[in-house]
């Protein structure tokens, strides 16, 4: 069995008396798309924040390719190959779509301490950025300020930014949040095309998306993994249906 790309071991985090991550252990295998589902308040975003480094866990370890990355700052984790998207679109509104992605390209290609030379005209940044925009179907909107994009386009841009980082693992925090049916379908198609290039942790409420994309699903409830397995196994799990899926499936 290959070694997991990401391994969370006995991760624990509480906000005051509220235990949001409770002895959580989770593996993400190479090229696997691992969905994390659960009701609101189950601790999904907190989990993503701990993996990407925005929140420090109280105890436990986060192993990336076998190395504990706890204590490593956000930017260093990103340079290792952990890319993430945000539940609330956090593209840079004053930057064009292209510049948003080009900034992500910049982080993995050459030094950003260059004080001269117009970054906006660097083909080495713009070409991979355009490719990533093309991957999510935003090529024609490249010059539009990100703040003026429609909601669904911002979601796609979030994805393009993450892709441009050439991640080893991609943490997607509700990429379909607030998108319409058509846009959801488009984003699912995009993710399906990208599947297998790298590992993905997908936090999502949209069950259509989860069942269409996930290799494995872990169900999170009160900060604990309630069940973990293939889509079919999870769907058949009586505890999962009782706790979460029951209401979602109706």
């Amino acid at each position: 069995m290959p070694e997991p790309v990401l391994r969370l071991e006995k991760l624990r985090k509480s906000f005051g008396a509220l235990l949001v991550t409770d002895d959580l252990t989770l593996d993400v295998m190479p090229r696997e798309l691992h969905a994390v589902i659960g009701p609101n308040g189950a601790g999904k975003t907190t989990l993503i924040n701990q993996i990407s480094g925005l929140i420090a866990p109280d105890s436990g370890s986060i192993l990336f390719h076998g190395h504990d990355i706890i204590g490593m700052p956000v930017d260093a984790r990103a340079r290792l190959g952990l890319a993430r998207s945000f539940q609330v679109s956090s593209v840079l509104p004053g930057f064009s779509a292209l510049e948003n992605v080009a900034l992500a390209v910049q982080s993995r290609s050459g030094s950003s301490l260059r004080l001269f030379g117009r970054a906006a005209e660097e083909a080495g940044l713009n070409e991979p950025a355009m490719a990533a925009l093309g991957d999510v179907g935003l090529a024609e909107r490249a010059q539009v300020p990100a703040g003026e994009l429609a909601h669904g386009e911002k979601r796609a841009l979030e994805l393009a930014i993450a892709l441009a980082m050439r991640p080893k693992i991609l943490l997607l925090d509700e990429p379909m949040a607030g998108t319409g049916r058509e846009e959801t379908a488009r984003l699912i198609a995009v993710l399906r095309r990208l599947k297998g290039r790298f590992s993905v942790v997908l936090v999502e409420h949209d069950m259509t998306a989860v069942f269409a994309l996930a290799d494995r699903i872990s169900v999170l409830l009160y900060g604990r993994i309630l069940a973990s397995g293939t889509a079919a196994a999870v769907r058949a799990d009586a505890r999962v249906v009782a706790a979460y899926l029951g209401e979602e499936m109706e």
């Binding site: 956000v74 930017d75 260093a76 840079l92 004053g94 930057f95 080009a102 900034l103 906006a120 703040g147």
Partner: protein, 329 residues
Amino acid sequence: MPASLAASRIRRREGLPAATLPAGIFLVLALLPTVTWITGGSYLISVGSRVMIFAIAAVALDLLVGYAALISFGHAAFIGLGAYAVGILSAYGCTDALVSLPVALAVSAAYAFLTGLVCLRTKGVYFIMITLAFGQMAFFTASSLAPFGGDDGLTIAARNTFAGFPVLRNERVFYYIVFFCLLGTYLFCRALVASRFGRVVRGAKENPIRVSTLGFDVYRFQLATYVIAGALAGLSGFLLANAAEFVSPAYMSWQRSGELIVMVLLGGLGSLDGAVIGAAVYLLTEEWLSAFTENWKVIFGPVLVLIVLFARGGLLGLTSALARRIMRA
């Protein structure tokens, strides 16, 4: 939308190339001594030099406030440090710019580095307060330097020489030296904000957490920007000491820091052009109004409030908005 973006887009809509405005500004500045050559007298030249010296510091401050959202309320300290480098060196008989200029830049950059290490750990209003505190620290230190005049300041016997030549002592030559310092500062900052480095800094202004998740150590980029802005203010201080042939703790006072912020806001935040225009308008208004009344700030204050309230892009934003209205009519 940041003012810079708004301004550049407005200009594009009018069909003027973006370089028109700065080209115009620097053309006027370059030709100013010719006017005084015709009219006679050197009053305009010394006012012009003073405007450009503060414009250098204002452009540097715009780098922080306008492009990095770092509202430094202690920027005058760096001007003062640059000026005191000149004053103290010349008190010891070292009067050549080949020594005093590098020292002025190094001292202000070092102070920016050391204080920036601490200041940049804080955000928002705390950043404003802590930069103010470090500014005041420099101010009180200078005030207590009894051997160098303390509160009264320090008169410099003569302007610096350059490699032994007294070039700075000719008003016109000095004017053009200041002019090229400002032009160099402007072009340097222009290149900086468009570079890879500048893109990271501008990105962090909009959303620092987002930029850190892209793999950038935002703190280091901001620190580098802070040091660059500090060193440029040191250049301004070097020139100011030579222009006035005098240095005083007042150069570092928090009022002066506030005036610099006003200059940047007045011209229009985040455009560099605006900083030059703001410095010119502020100092010329001061010059003009203070001829009428000692309490010129009573008039200037309300005007400033109106500009901040109704022209968010400063004078630059106001004029381009007016231009658009005229074009449409």
